[in-house]
């Protein structure tokens, strides 16, 4: 009887896609347990750069993570986590701020407490900001200026969406951030409706229990909101700070991300599936030493699709895709996109990304809906999506020498 029960539970687990979102006292919780030896818990807050009231506040809040709280000092958090053998980190996106802890299974209560205490009772002291956080904010900005691809994509977001999604992930080099700005941003962002907790390798019931207790004291006031995204587009040229010459051609759409664009990205991706092969992408015939990287960045209400290190060949390939695509090419593109979406869920970060985009919206966060929508892509819809991309004003950014081409020279 015991065996029968166990097997029925397994069947249930397989049938239940991969995570059900539970709403505990206003905080959304989702957990997946594949019996891994380690667990991770991510507190996802809708406090990305698109919601920030002042440039760089979101980045500063990210770097403030795990500093002193009323219950624990910054050094206490670090040393105690080291004794438990856990890892703490925070990452910032345009939509979400993610505070993550990775740890051994039995230490979940401690790490959930560390994460929740930052959300509910961080002190945000001025000296910590000046001594620890401000240098980190500055080094984030510094690192970004030395990576042409990051710079190009940052500027492209600004051109494409102006405010909201267009706001940079990094603080300006000479900023006037104060600890009061960060404190008030945190106070408005860290409210119950704005927080979701995602666990991997942890039993959903355990996580729900811990979260319920830990986030009891979180405030439930209104959270910051950003206006709906609008696509603008434009052209700009930046001087390079070393690094490769970079050209970014981007196109934006508003509305929920469509699976046609995911398929288009897979179609154009030059990454071969087999070693020593050049792949089947339209870019596989490019000369040695050059590459084109499709960039597909879906957000909740807009998508930025682009080609990095692009040139004439990239524009030609996009135009060809808008003209029409062969059935077998579409089939392989869809298969590639499906594999990418499914394989993404295998890794911890990919799973958190996949869940994060859905957890605030609905009750069911599964990869199946993504896969089935990719299955529904047909050749007509595919070329229509590509054509509608091309019909809008492109976002064109160059980082490097002045000899890099202008948009009209590439036929845009």
């Amino acid at each position: 009887m015991l065996a029968a029960r166990a097997s029925s539970r397994n069947v249930q687990r397989i049938a239940r896609s991969f995570a059900t979102v539970i709403d505990t006292t206003g905080v959304k919780v989702a957990a997946v347990d594949h019996n891994q030896p380690t667990s991770s818990v991510t507190v996802l807050v809708k406090a990305g750069s698109r919601f920030e009231p002042k440039e760089g506040v979101a980045n500063a809040l990210k770097n403030f993570a795990f500093k002193s709280t009323t219950g624990r000092s910054a050094i206490g958090t670090v040393r105690e986590s080291e004794l438990y053998g856990g890892v703490l980190y925070s990452t910032l996106g345009r939509e979400h701020l993610a505070l993550t802890a990775e740890f051994l299974r039995e230490d979940a209560p401690y790490f959930v407490d560390v994460l929740s205490s930052f959300v509910t009772s961080a002190k945000f002291t001025r000296h910590e900001f000046e001594e620890y956080v401000a240098p980190l904010v500055a080094s984030d900005t510094e690192a970004a200026t030395h990576d042409p691809a990051t710079r190009a994509i940052e500027v492209a977001h600004g051109l494409a969406f102006r405010n909201g999604l267009g706001q940079s992930l990094f603080a300006p080099e000479h900023n006037e951030l104060t600890v009061a700005d960060i404190k008030s941003y945190a106070a408005s962002a860290f409210s119950k409706g704005n927080i979701a907790v995602i666990g991997t390798g942890i039993d959903p019931a355990t996580l729900t229990g811990l979260v319920e207790k830990a986030f009891e004291k979180a405030s439930s006031n209104s959270s910051p909101s950003a206006p709906a995204s609008k696509y603008f587009g434009g052209e700009t040229r930046l001087a390079g700070n070393g690094g490769p010459q970079t050209v970014f051609i981007g196109f934006g759409t508003t509305g929920a991300p469509s699976s046609e664009l995911a398929a288009l990205s897979a179609h154009l991706s030059p990454t071969p599936s087999v070693k020593w092969s050049k792949g089947l992408s339209p870019f596989s015939s490019l000369p040695e030493g050059t590459s084109v990287q499709p960039v597909y960045l879906p957000y909740s209400d807009a998508t930025l699709f682009g080609l990095l290190e692009a040139g004439k060949a990239a524009v030609a390939a996009l135009k060809a895709a808008a003209q029409g695509i062969k059935a077998e090419e579409l089939k392989s593109a869809v298969a590639k996109a499906k594999f990418a979406a499914a394989a993404n869920v295998d890794t911890r970060e990919g799973l958190i990304n996949a869940l994060g985009s859905k957890i605030f919206g609905g009750a069911e966060a599964s990869v199946e809906s993504t896969l089935s929508s990719l299955d529904a892509v047909n050749a007509a819809a595919f070329s229509k999506a590509a054509a509608s991309l091309l019909s809008a004003k492109p976002t064109y950014v160059t980082v490097g020498e002045s000899s890099l081409p202008y948009a009209d020279e590439l036929g845009l």
Binding site: I75, L83, R126, E130
Partner: protein, 126 residues
């Protein structure tokens, strides 16, 4: 006991009502007689700053506090050159003679003590 703030009996005196009743007037007289207020100083300006804890604490003052401190130090050294205290209108009133530097110094020392505790923690398996 030999931290940057020096040894003090103040908490003991303050804890006893009789003692503080007797000693407080003497303390006020002594503070005025010591003469730092005549040079526009606050008591914490006299704190020995040549040690890492106080240096760190000085870095944590607000810009306004840093500016005022530098101003008091300069004004007092000018009066020292003149061998004369300030005119009485510019003496530090007792109400303004607050311990602005003590709280950050105490914070720094607490942090150092905590770091020492974690550096020397012995982990035991439960």
């Amino acid at each position: 006991m030999f931290g940057p703030l020096g040894a003090t009996l103040a908490p003991y005196v303050q804890s006893s009502r009789t003692l503080s009743k007797w000693i407080t007037p003497v303390a006020h007289w002594y503070a005025n007689a010591s003469g730092w207020r005549k040079y526009g100083f606050k008591y914490d300006d006299l704190l020995v700053e040549e040690n890492p804890q106080v240096q760190r604490a000085l870095g944590r003052l607000t810009p306004a506090e840093k500016f005022d401190r530098a101003y008091r130090l300069k004004r007092a050294s000018q009066q020292s050159v003149l061998h004369a205290p300030l005119p009485q209108s510019q003496w530090t009133p007792e109400s303004e003679d607050v311990r602005y530097l003590k709280p950050p110094v105490v914070d720094v020392m607490k942090e150092e003590a905590e770091r020492f505790k974690w550096d020397n923690a012995i982990v035991e398996r439960k």
